[in-house]
C-alpha cells in the first residue's frame, strides 16, 4: 500500500500543454479508479473503523475515540520497533546476499543468465506460506540441519549472541530474520539486476585505464550507477517485511512477535477491530514517513 502511495504522487503530474486532448486523462482513468476503489476507500473505512467503540456481541459504533491510537502505541510499541528492526536487518542481509548475485547475473553469467534468473524467480511458483512452512521442517529439531549445527557448536554461538533461546534453530530471532531475508530476497535481486544490467562495461574499463583500483572502481562507478536498483530493492524488501505476519508466527516464539501478527490476531482472533485498524494506520504512517526520509536522503526521487 505504501509503495502505491509513493508511486501515485509521480503519476499525478500530467503534462498539460496539449489541453484539448482528453486521451491522456482517459488513459489515467482506469488507474485512478483502481486507486480509489482499492486504496482510498479501504483507507477511509479503516480510518473510520479505528475510531469506533463497542464489542462483538453488540456491534461497533463510531464514537471518534482518538485515544485508541495512544492505547495501541502504548501497548504494542515493542512489537512495532521490533518489526522495523527485523525488517531492517533482513533488508541489509538481502542486500549483502543479493548484490553479488545480481552483479554476477548481469555481468558475468553469459549464456547462463536466463537460467539463473529463472532460478531466482522459481520460489514464486509455490506459495509464500508453503515456502515458510518448508523452513519449519528444515529447521526442526529432528532434521540434520539442527543436528549438524549442534555438532559444529553453531547453536551455542547463536545462543551466546542471543539470536536463539536454546539449542534449537526454530522458534527464534534467528529463524524469523532468516525467513524474512529468504522470502524477500528476490525482490532485492531483481531491481538490482535491472540496474546492473545497464552498467556499461566500458565505464569499468575506463576507470581501470585511469588507474582506479577495483575497489575504487566499485565505489565510484558501479555502486553509484546501481543506486536506483539499491533504493528500489531496499524499499521492495523493507516495506513488506515490516508488515509481515507469517514469518514471525511460523518461525518465531512469543518474544519475536512482529506488528503484522499483532494486527492479524486482533482482526481475526480477538475481533478488536478498532485496535487492529489503529495499529494498521500507525504502521502505515511510520513506514511512509521512513520511506519519505530515506528517498529524500538517497536523493533519488526522480528515479522512482
Amino acid at each position: 500500500m505504501a509503495e502505491t502511495a509513493v508511486l501515485s504522487t509521480g503519476s499525478a503530474v500530467a503534462p498539460s500543454h496539449r489541453r484539448r486532448t482528453w486521451v491522456p486523462y482517459a488513459l489515467l482513468l482506469p488507474g485512478l479508479l483502481w486507486l480509489v476503489v482499492f486504496f482510498v476507500l479501504p483507507m477511509l473505512t479503516l480510518g473510520s473503523q479505528s475510531l469506533q467503540e463497542g464489542n462483538v456481541d453488540d456491534g461497533y459504533a463510531f464514537t471518534g475515540n482518538v485515544a485508541i491510537y495512544a492505547e495501541a502505541l502504548g501497548r504494542y510499541w515493542p512489537q512495532m520497533l521490533r518489526s522495523l528492526l527485523y525488517a531492517g536487518v533482513a533488508t541489509l542481509l538481502a542486500l549483502l546476499l543479493g548484490y553479488p548475485l545480481a552483479y554476477f547475473i548481469a555481468q558475468k553469467a553469459g549464456r547462463w543468465k536466463n537460467i539463473v534468473l529463472v532460478l531466482v524467480i522459481a520460489p514464486f511458483f509455490t506459495s509464500f506460506l508453503i515456502r515458510t512452512l518448508a523452513w519449519r521442517t528444515i529447521l526442526s529439531d529432528d532434521w540434520f540441519v539442527t543436528q549438524w549445527a549442534r555438532t559444529l557448536r553453531v547453536t551455542d554461538l547463536l545462543q551466546w549472541v542471543g539470536l536463539t533461546a536454546n539449542d534449537s534453530l526454530l522458534s527464534s530471532k534467528f529463524a524469523v530474520i532468516m525467513g524474512l531475508t529468504y522470502n524477500f530476497l528476490p525482490f532485492m535481486i531483481l531491481p538490482l539486476y535491472a540496474s546492473l544490467e545497464r552498467l556499461d562495461p566500458r565505464l569499468l574499463e575506463a576507470a581501470g585505464d585511469l588507474y582506479a583500483s577495483p575497489r575504487e572502481t566499485f565505489r565510484r562507478v558501479t555502486w553509484p550507477l546501481s543506486l536506483p536498483g539499491v533504493v528500489a530493492g531496499t524499499l521492495l524488501t523493507f516495506i513488506p517485511a515490516a508488515g509481515d505476519f507469517i514469518n514471525a508466527r511460523l518461525l518465531g516464539n512469543t518474544q519475536t512477535t512482529m506488528i503484522g501478527s499483532v494486527i492479524d490476531s486482533q482482526f481475526l482472533r480477538v475481533l478488536d477491530y478498532p485496535l487492529a485498524a489503529a495499529l494498521s494506520f500507525i504502521l502505515l504512517i511510520v513506514i511512509v514517513t521512513m520511506v519519505a526520509v530515506y528517498v529524500r536522503k538517497a536523493g533519488t526521487e526522480e528515479l522512482l
Binding site: 526442526s140 536454546n166 534449537s168 527464534s172 516464539n253 512469543t254 486482533q266 482472533r269 475481533l271 478488536d272
Partner: protein, 416 residues
Amino acid sequence: MNDKSFDTDNPYLRAALLRGLVSRRSAMMGAAGVSAAAFLAACGSAGKNPTPAGTGATGTTPAKTAAAAQDMSDTEKVVNWSNWTEYIDVSEDEKSRPTLEAFMKKTGIKVNYTEDYLDNDEFYAKVRPLLEGGQDTGRDVWVSTDWMVARLIRQGYIQKLDFANIPNAGNLEANFKNVEFDPGRLYSLPWQAGFACIGYNAKATGGKKVESMTQLLTDPALKGKVTLLTEMRDTMGLVMLEQGKDPASFTDADFQAAIDMIQQAKDAGQLKGFTGNEYTDGLSKGDIAACVAWSGDVASLKLDTPELDLTLPAAGYTLWSDNFVIPALAKHKKNAEKLIDYYYDPKVFKDVAAWVNYIPPVAGTKEALVADDPELGNNTLVFPTEDVLAKAHVFRPLTAAEETKYTKLFSALTTA
C-alpha cells in the same frame, strides 16, 4: 469391564458439562444443578426420562432466530463438515476415514470433511462476517466447544436441530442431556468431551516427565519449547488450579495472578508460543517439548509416536465438551442431521472413540467397544473413573462483560 468405572450419572461429569456462557443469575444456580445431579445419580436410573434442566434461567436465549436456507439435501447429496484436527478415526494407511466412508456408501451422501477448526475464536472470526451479513458459510455442520455454542445460540447463528431426522439422538448419555449452554439440547449434540492436560515428548525433554504447570512454566530444561493453548478456559483453568484456585469460582485477582504467572514464563523466554489444535504436529516432531494439550489428541498421537505422554496434573485439570451445530443458512441441513444420526449409533461411534480417545457421549459405546478391545474399556481417559473426574474442573460461566474483560487480558498475552 468394571461397571463402576464409568457411571453415566456421575455428578462430577454432569456438573462439568453444565458449563456455558450464561448470565450471572444462572451461574449462581450452578450449585443447585450439581445437587440435583447428585440426587439423580442416587436414584440410579436418570436419563430414561429427561427432566427439564434444573436451571430455568439462562442467558442463552437467542436474540434472534437463525435464518434457514432452502434445504437442498434431497437434490444435492452433499454435506460440508468442518472439524478439529485428530478428531475422527483414520485408517491404518492414514488415507481414508473408515466411518465417514461407510456413511457415504450407506447413504450416497458425499461428506466434504475439512479440518479447519483450529480454535474457537479463530473459527468464529472466520464465519462471523458471513453469518452477520446473512450469507451462507459454505458449511452445513461444525463442532464447537460448549461456551461457543452458547454464543452462537445467543446471536442466532445456529439452527435448531430437527430430531425427526436424528432418531438415534435417544442414545445421548444422560450426563450430556441437560446442559446450561443449550437448555433442553435444542441446538446441539455433543461430539466428544475431554480434558485439558499437559502433553510432552519424552525425547525432547531428555526423558524427563512434566508433571505440573509450575514445571511446565519454569523448568529450564524446557526453555523455549513450551506452548500453551489459545483456548483461554483451558490454559487459564490449568494455571489457576496450579495456584490453588478453582476455575469454577475464581475472582478477578485470581485471574490476574494466573496471567502474571504466564507473563513471567513468557518474559523468561520459556514459551515458544500459543497455539490452537496445530500443536499436535510440533509435539510429535519434538519441536514442542511440552505443552498444554487435549487428552485424546496426545493419547491417539502416542500410537504413532510412542515417546509422547500426558499428565493429568495433580492440582486438577479442566473438562470440556465439543458439540455438533448447524449454522444459519446451511444448504444441506437434513444431510447434516443424517450424518449426526449416523454417528449416534454406538456401533459406529465405538470406532471413532477407539481412535480419538475422548469421552464418548453416545450411550452403549462402552459396551460395543469392550467387545472389540477389552483394554480400551479400562482407559480412564475414555471412560474416566470417579477419581479422575473428581479432579476435573469447570471454568465458570462468564457474563458478556466478564468475557470481554478476561479475553482482553488473556489476548494481550497471546497476541504480543
